[in-house]
Symmetry: C2
Subunit: 214 residues, 2 copies
DNA sequence: GGGCCCACCATTGCATGCAATGTATGCAAA
DNA sequence: TTTGCATACATTGCATGCAATGGTGGGCCC
């Protein structure tokens, strides 16, 4: 379906910064770019509005740029939901409902994330980091939580794109990932929840600090 | 905007059971009912799909009926988010950022909910109960959490409509509301979070029990 | 020279035409 | 009687026309 294609492509372009926060999009313009008529584009823009990636602004829509307080809100929601998914994942592990291969794969992603971060490959690190967190959400086997998290991650990613900076303490971040991984593997739901929440809120603090320029 | 009107009206009709879970909706049919063309109806149906209230099913869409496991997922997400909003509300109260009138109003809603429940006015009780929880989310002043909760509440409401049964222990529910209210008023964030989570998960248990018929 | 108002036009929102497509129905054959 | 297939049709998805609307630039007045 073309409107889905339009949604996917536009989402990509927004998430990778091609359309940065504040950029204005009009139906006709996008229709010309994607070589389709206004109808599917229109639907895609509406969907992106519902996703919170763009908002109506007079004529057309603009890519959202969450202000500091809204970004804080997003991190709070993210922390609550990641605490939940981490807890659920650990619980499922305790019930023997998680395939060992999935845990191996999760560790690999964690290692790759640490490597990319340590070597300063920032864009790659961001992608791997997100994948790590998404893998955990998938292990929680809660589709609603996963779907909601995807939207929150998207919103945060857009609003922090311009401040792409390396974590101030890469080892610290990797350490938290390790702790989270351990809590899940060893089936300690309460610990997993606590670590996940603390980790997300740590990330928030770092992001806010690097948010000042511009 | 007509597509917004269509969205609102259809959402109402779904939430009040006029279109029960499983009901099939087609663009033309709805367009005729709402007396508008297919275009705004089409957009409304897409939005409702994104909201998780309907899902595409061959031709047209059908009103969703979450199966037991998905309903459980929804309750888990709801519990996590209401724990967050209760915690944030209590924290804000501790910072003196909540107007006394808002707390008075919250208590009034709690009382009205208890009264309606005790007297068996179920439909009214459901509405008041939702208002009580929404008020707390509003006190948390986190727009993203509130918005996300609205969607989850909607999904749960649709899937539990047919099993509209009085709480097995009305006094218990009212007692939990009181505890939650007290924790917020007395600015005990941790308690508020714990009570909110427990309360939601209690509600879930009740709902599941009444879920068997049909 | 600066500010305000008006007119124009880009752009959206809605309606509708048209082609593609999946579904259901009916008929025939086993 | 049941199953499989073909055909017709309901319904969607996309394109485009048309009217409404709000923003912007230019011109005029102060």
């Amino acid at each position: 379906m073309q409107s889905d294609v339009a949604w996917r492509r536009l989402r990509e372009l927004i998430l990778d910064g091609t359309y940065p926060p504040g950029a204005r999009l009009t139906e006709m313009e996008v229709a010309a770019t994607l070589e389709m008529s206004r109808t599917p584009v229109r639907e895609a823009l509406r969907a992106l509005t519902a996703d919170g990636l763009v908002r109506p602004a007079g004529r057309g829509v603009v890519v959202v740029a969450l202000e500091a307080s809204a970004l804080e809100d997003a991190f709070q929601v993210r922390a609550a939901l990641e605490a939940l998914t981490a807890e659920l994942a650990a619980t499922r592990q305790g019930e023997g409902r998680i395939a060992p291969a999935d845990l191996v794969s999760l560790r690999e992603v964690a290692d790759a994330t640490a490597a990319a971060t340590a070597q300063g490959r920032l864009t790659e690190a961001v992608g791997l980091n997100r994948r790590f967190h998404r893998r955990i959400a998938e292990l929680a086997a809660n589709a609603i939580a996963l779907h909601t998290l995807e939207r929150v991650w998207d919103q945060i990613q857009v609003s922090t794109l311009r401040s792409l900076a390396p974590p101030s303490r890469p080892a610290h971040v990797s350490g938290q990932h390790e702790q989270l991984l351990a809590a899940i593997i060893e089936a300690r739901p309460q610990d997993a929840a606590a670590v996940a929440r603390a980790h997300v809120l740590d990330t928030r603090a770092v992001t806010h600090r690097t948010d000042e320029p511009t």
